[in-house]
Symmetry: C2
Subunit: 337 residues, 2 copies
Amino acid sequence: MITNFPDWDVMRMHYDVIVIGGSAAGLAATLYASRQGLKTLVITKDIGGQMLLTNEIQNYPGFANTSGFELATKFKEQVELYGPEFVYDEANGIERDAECPGLCFRVKTMSGDYHATALILAFGKTPKDLGVPGEQELKGKGVSYCAVCDGPLFKGKTVAVVGTGDQALEAANYLASVVSKIYLIHTHDRPIGSEDLVSQVLSLPNVQAVPNSKVSALKGTSKLETIIITNTTNGQNSEIQADGIFVEIGYIAKTAWLKDLVKLTPQGQIEVDRKSKTSQPGIFAAGDVTDIPYMQAVISAGQGAIAALSAYNYVQGIKGKTATRADWRAIKVQTTK
Amino acid sequence: MITNFPDWDVMRMHYDVIVIGGSAAGLAATLYASRQGLKTLVITKDIGGQMLLTNEIQNYPGFANTSGFELATKFKEQVELYGPEFVYDEANGIERDAECPGLCFRVKTMSGDYHATALILAFGKTPKDLGVPGEQELKGKGVSYCAVCDGPLFKGKTVAVVGTGDQALEAANYLASVVSKIYLIHTHDRPIGSEDLVSQVLSLPNVQAVPNSKVSALKGTSKLETIIITNTTNGQNSEIQADGIFVEIGYIAKTAWLKDLVKLTPQGQIEVDRKSKTSQPGIFAAGDVTDIPYMQAVISAGQGAIAALSAYNYVQGIKGKTATRADWRAIKVQTTK
């Protein structure tokens, strides 16, 4: 009845479900999966993901005022009550596991391979690079993509924020109380965002707007020293001396490594249906890495719950196909110790 | 530029958005709508809706252990920070408002009519009736549809719980610590639900299983006295004397009154797309009243947020069509006092 099943050594690392990502969607999925009794592994670089980028959260229902860090911590503590395992690593490959064809997946990381019947992809989006000379070399040496995370490193110093929308405005608004001076580099006459936020940021005494400008290069030897900007109306270059630059120009789903596995939108987001199923049976996805509308913690958390409940149904179905429940339980007892 | 606009008297009751329903989806939608600056009215019979039916919630991310009442109260307090208005009433009619064709809706209630540019339908599901003689007459006189709400009224008394799945088991499990004796009336040999819950409930000393049985009538003069049950295998009738009966046989979306306005599924759920739009432009829906998979507070809350953000975009679009922003603001200042 059970054919081509992985050997016991492999099975020791076999999970019902592996959740990739530890932000709102991933942690909600983990909560639901492990509460349903699924043997669950979370592979993530951090706990909180993009929630950590938000200093103040007022729109997660149930918390009138919290921080991304506090909310992520609460999620994690709650999840831990149900015993999922965590591996702090980055998944860099997924394939159908040849040792149990049609039954499970192999997830590759630096620390080893992990096997699961179902996967939930919930690793969110990643800040966009500027794509200019000097950026890669100076990452972490003055070039940052997270004002809330790295702002305190620039206390009393001069920084630039580059970006035209709310994301850049929120970063500048936060940094204004930390650093001594901010150049707000944006491509239009005036930042384009929520009108109250635009007005507030432009009225801050230590914010200097640098309109009609884009960054064309970053320079510095051991750390960032000079930002080369190009005027978008007349093409002329000029320089800004700064200790740091915060790149706040949006986010992308880094999913190119999954393109042969699941269907992606032209923007690289993972396509999911209303049950959070991807185009690949057994792989589910939730949160900002998917083509869900609007990036919000509660929306991601809700979708994570949907993904986990759908994964649960899928895993139950696979178990039914491969063995009686009793057989499967015996396998699991033997292999997961 | 503004044609056929409602007169000022009507406009006094004009809102950007009316949310119908005050449970997880409705309150999350209200939070998002009012935080976006929309003039928002909530029409609801209660605060919490089906959340109130749950005594213990462990799977709303952020709260390791809470009750439906506590969570609903937190939602409400948070929502109130942004100034939406509440009317405690039942909506019983919705129509395109003839006074501003294509621009707004009229919602009818017992307490009057309310007008809005957009609507969010989030009034959840309603417990199913048994549909047997005596039920309508004895509602609230021993016949209940909510163990958590009404259980304490039957302290030390004898009750029946009718239903075969988890909903009935959870009700019996809760009631066992309140009432003196429970008859658990179910249609099969054994209740059909989560195996651990089945075992636990059947092991309770004051729970008596009444298998292979359905309720065929309820009798009593001023209150419930006798339950007539019919054996599903041999068709024989028998009687149970009880002070109360809890009907726990599922929920339905009571949407027949909306059938000419929005597209419904064959089960009566409101069809929505991924942005929570219904088939009627300007009407959005969220939560258990829709065809969303899985009934869970966090899933409903996430969908409520989506509905509100979509409604916001819709309202902005309507404002753009009817007047400049400045004109519209002037109208609103004049009419909302």
